[in-house]
Structure formats: C-alpha cells, structure tokens
C-alpha cells in the first residue's frame, strides 16, 4: 500500500512544483511588462510636453 501511495505522491508533488514554478515565472513576467508599460508612458508624457513647449 505504502509503495503505490508514495509513487502517486511523488508524481503529484512534481506536477505541483512545476505548476508553482510556472506561476512564479508568470508573476515575474507580469511585473516586467508593467515596468515596460510605465517606462513607455513616462516617455510618451515627456515627448508630449516637449512638443507642447516647442
């Protein structure tokens, strides 16, 4: 009984770790994209104020 439960648990844990890793990478990617978006919006604002000043 113990052997087959151990086998199932090992497979389950491996899948849980992989999915958790996917989730972590997804959150990191989202933060990175948000930083890019903020930088892009700041650049747009700067360009707009420059063109107004000109």
């Amino acid at each position: 009984m113990g052997t087959f439960v151990a086998g199932y648990l090992i497979v389950l844990l491996a899948v849980v770790f992989y999915v958790a890793r996917l989730g972590r990478q997804q959150r990191r990617l989202q933060k990175q994209l948000e930083t890019f978006q903020a930088a892009w919006l700041a650049q747009e604002d700067q360009n707009e104020s420059r063109s107004r000043a000109a």
């Binding site: 009984m1 052997t3 087959f4 151990a6 086998g7 199932y8 090992i10 497979v11 491996a14 992989y18 999915v19 996917l22 990478q25 997804q26 990617l29 990175q32 994209l33 890019f36 930088a39």
Partner: protein, 186 residues
C-alpha cells in the same frame, strides 16, 4: 503484487509522455533548423522541461514498482538502462541550453543534440522486444484495468499538452520582453 501494481496507472502515462516529449522536442528542433523561427524553440523548451520531468518520474515510479516486484530498486535491464540514458540526454540538453545566452545559438545547439539523442527513443520502445531482460513486455490485464489505464493515459496526456501550451506562450512573452528590453537599452 497487491496494491503496488496500481503504480502502473501513473508509470505508463509518464513513460509515454517522456517519450512523446522527446519526439516533440526533436520535431521542433528540426522545424527550427528548417525555418530559423524561434517560436519552434519555445515548443522545444516547453517539451524538454515537461519531458525531462516525466522521464525522471518514469525512473522513480519504475524503481518503486521494481522494489515490490523484483526485490531491488534498480537493475541494469535493457529497458531501464535505455530509459536512464534518455533522462540523461534530456538533462544534458537542458544544461547545455541553459549555458547559452544567444537565442538562435541555443536553439541550433539544442536542435542538433535532440536529433542525435532521439536515436535512443526507438531503443527505449523496443528494448523489451530486442533484448532479454526483466521488464515486462506487454503484461496481460483484466478489461477493467485496461480501461483504467487508458483513461489515465488520456487524462495525463491532455493535462501535460495543456501545460506545454501554457509554457510555450510564457516563453514567447519572455522572448518578446527580452527583445523589448534590448531595444530600449540599445
């Protein structure tokens, strides 16, 4: 064997997915070499990660089963040895790729290694037929067991293909983000 035979319902699906992962990886490698399009490399990486995991799980669950059936954790049986070589090839490819920064070089090296390593796949499949060993060839199963195993194989396959698809999309976005950062910094 008692309850221990139930390991077959996870051992067979992960073994199948370990082999399928390698075939997808080698196929994506060939497609990359032909088209030089990095989207194939994203499939390659997704299949490599999941295939490596399934290949490792095949060895672990197989070892647990062997302990119950043969009284030993490991035997250098032809099927076990070729399966171990497959896992070692997966590990080697992932390690080599992780050391390469330039995406096209990484894709090219990975593709060549996967095509060469793919030669082990028919050996793993045919090992029990071509060579004499301990691993069962195609054991007799009651109809209910056969149906349960089929459901398990289909279920695992659908879930892992879905996971591979998610990972591929993620790799594509990571590649876009890296490209954007290069342009901004450059």
């Amino acid at each position: 064997m008692g309850h221990a035979q139930r390991i077959v319902y996870v051992h067979v699906p992960v073994a199948w997915l370990g082999l399928l992962g390698f075939l997808v990886m080698a196929g994506s490698g060939v497609a990359y070499l032909a088209r030089r399009d990095l989207k194939w490399d994203h499939w390659f990486q997704a299949a490599a990660e999941l295939g490596w995991m399934c290949s490792g799980l095949t060895l672990v669950t197989g070892s647990l089963w062997a302990h119950e059936a043969w009284g030993t954790w490991w035997e250098w049986d032809p099927r076990l040895t070729t399966a171990f070589i497959l896992w070692a090839v997966y590990s080697g490819i992932l390690m080599v790729r992780s050391g390469l920064e330039e995406p096209h070089r990484r894709a090219r090296v990975g593709a060549v290694l996967a095509v060469l390593g793919g030669l082990d796949v028919p050996l793993v499949v045919m090992a029990t037929r071509w060579f004499r060993g301990l691993h069962p060839v195609a054991p007799e199963m009651a109809p209910l067991m056969r149906i349960t195993l089929a459901i398990s194989v289909v279920g695992f396959s659908v879930f892992f293909v879905w996971l591979a698809g998610r990972r591929r999309v993620q790799l594509g976005l990571e590649s876009l983000a890296a490209e954007f950062q290069r342009r901004v910094e450059g």
